[in-house]
């Protein structure tokens, strides 16, 4: 029996499943918005603003979900500040510690971009546009984009930095979650913007199709490297069926096909995006709960 089966379950369940899903979308959406803002054209600004509108609430929801999962939620600040000395609590070798700071930084940059976006459309004073334009805007986008990528991917690294079945038996989970976060972030942007048909929609759809392909390759590599001794008890059951049907078929292959063939007519674009979101959610469910059930 692999050594990872001698461990106890941390019982990271639905709060964490939703956090991984929402955090991935928020991080991915900001990274895409930052790419568009830094390297796109002026006509792409509405789509990048949509990315900011998704990212900031996503970071708030992520924080709430994480706090709700703690057994002593009133002590959430112990993640960032040492309760006795009030010095910063930071361990670079502990993904849960780095992740707490990463989420905080992502929340800060996504908040600044959110404010800047609201200023651009005239809801807040115009002077605040500088938060997403010019030199300051570039800095917010670069730092926010990096922290967005971090938020989407570190959750998988966190799972691998344990001794639990499946999670600790692979080093590919971080990359898989990063790709899934990016693709679900793109999918939500498509879903919320397809009616307006923004100029960058075609770029976004093509990007998403590429990322879905990469996600499938990484998923196959992950399963191949984990080994049968782990796969048999963890995924050769209903969880494995859910992975194949819910993630591979519904979340990757069908939307990948829809990106190139409009089989659903007018609903092809939102339909594909919706399926990517469903697949991204099911991926988090299977990867977390199958190990917890083993």
């Amino acid at each position: 029996m692999p050594d990872s089966f001698f461990t106890a379950s941390p019982e990271w369940r639905w709060w964490i499943v939703f956090y991984f899903f929402v955090g991935g979308i928020a991080g991915g959406a900001f990274a895409i918005a930052a790419l568009l803002r830094l390297f796109g054209r002026e006509v792409d600004r509405p789509l990048s603003r949509l990315g900011y509108y998704i990212a900031f609430p996503g970071s708030i929801i992520s924080g709430i979900l994480l706090i709700a999962d703690l057994k002593r939620p009133e002590r959430f600040w112990h993640m960032l500040i040492q309760s006795e000395t009030f010095a910063p609590a930071f361990k670079w070798w502990s993904p849960i510690s780095v992740g707490s700071w990463g989420l905080l930084l992502f929340g800060l940059f996504s908040f600044l971009a959110f404010v800047g976006a609201l200023a651009e459309v005239g809801i807040l004073p115009r002077g605040l546009q500088a938060l997403v334009q010019g030199g300051l805007g570039a800095a917010v986008n670069v730092l926010g984009g990096i922290s967005g990528f971090f938020l989407a991917g570190y959750t998988g690294v966190l799972l691998s930095t344990t001794n639990r079945p499946l999670w600790s038996d692979t080093v590919w989970l971080g990359l898989l979650f990063l790709l899934s976060g990016f693709s679900t972030g793109a999918a939500l942007l498509i879903l919320l913007s397809w009616r307006q048909n923004p100029p960058a929609l075609a770029w976004l759809k093509e990007l998403d199709a590429w990322v879905l392909g990469l996600e499938l390759v990484v998923l196959i590599v992950l399963l191949a490297t984990v080994g049968m001794a782990v796969l048999r008890p963890v995924l050769f059951n209903a969880w494995g069926v859910l992975l194949v049907v819910g993630v591979v078929l519904v979340g990757i292959l069908v939307p990948g096909l829809l990106h190139y063939r409009p089989l659903l007519g007018r609903l092809t674009v939102p339909g594909a995006a919706l399926l990517v979101l469903v697949g991204g959610f099911v991926l988090r469910v299977v990867m977390l709960l199958s190990s917890e059930a083993a």
């Binding site: 001698f6 990271w12 361990k91 691998s160 770029w203």
Partner: protein, 276 residues
């Protein structure tokens, strides 16, 4: 720092009396499971089942019987936190709740823990769990309070057969090696030490003499630190982030090139029509 202290548990003389469990519960004021209404498990004579946030010592009963039960034996082992020299729980704890003491033991500070449960997933032995009364992670402290007062931990004090021995690690290792040699001289060739040297997590400050493979006792053969996966996993993710950024940029560049080509075509067509 004081001399490293710990336990040597000689499972060959454990009689399964569970006095260690009772002493641990009594000294540490740990509550009964399910309010004391504990059903019989049917798992040999063991009704305390496993280590948990309110069960810091647990005596395992492992039945090794022939199919017709005409011959066989019980293996008994008083399990506890291993107080690893390289401790996975301490490594991942984000709040600093888990500390290494002056005795080289590992202790969770209940007033600091916020119940994130990272330590539970990190422990390669499945030792730590949440105490439902405090809602914090808990495990054996090696009776840190008693040690500070120069006393022997409650479990070792109560053990009637000296299966649980407490003392300086260097002395315990000598006892363990002598006992192993004695057993092997008596023909108990399956006897072996587990965690007595640095091969397992730099050494376990609670180590064992076993009479069978570690897996038979529910112990991993090659426990590792969770941090072994940080660098490769983070490296792959970082490379993926760079690749995604480049993929996005390539798409934007292609779009720009297509647009410029379309504009040039339009201009050419416009020039052609003017010339005509």
């Amino acid at each position: 720092m004081a001399e490293p202290m710990g336990f040597f548990t000689d499972t060959s003389v454990c009689i399964g009396c569970k006095a260690c469990e009772v002493a641990c519960k009594a000294w540490n004021q740990l509550p009964a499971r399910n309010g004391g209404k504990v059903p019989l498990t049917g798992q040999s004579y063991d009704n305390t089942v496993e280590l948990s946030g309110i069960q810091w010592r647990h005596v395992k009963f492992i039945e090794q019987f022939s199919p017709d039960r005409s011959s066989g034996r019980w293996l008994m082992m008083s399990d506890v936190c291993k107080h690893c020299v390289q401790a996975g729980c301490l490594e991942v704890c984000p709040t600093g709740a888990i500390i290494r003491t002056e005795f080289d033991t590992v202790v969770i500070q209940s007033d600091v823990c916020n119940g994130c449960r990272a330590c539970i997933a990190a422990c390669p032995f499945g030792v730590i769990e949440i105490n439902p009364e405090t809602n914090t992670a808990m495990k054996c402290t090696l009776c840190y309070d008693r040690m500070q007062a120069g006393m022997v931990p409650a479990c070792a004090q109560a053990c009637p057969t000296h299966s649980i021995q407490f003392g300086p690690i260097s002395e315990l290792r000598q006892h363990a090696e002598a006992r192993l040699a004695q057993l092997q001289a008596q023909g108990v060739t399956q006897a072996r030490l587990y965690g007595h040297d640095e091969s397992i997590l730099g050494g376990l400050n609670s180590f064992y003499l076993l009479l069978d493979d570690p897996e038979v006792y529910g112990l991993p053969s090659n426990p590792q630190l969770p941090s072994r996966n940080v660098a490769p996993s983070a490296g792959l993710s970082a490379a993926g982030a760079v690749a995604l950024g480049l993929l996005g940029l390539a798409g934007l560049r292609k779009r720009r090139m297509d647009q410029l080509a379309a504009e040039a075509r339009e201009q050419q067509e416009g020039d052609g029509s003017h010339a005509g």
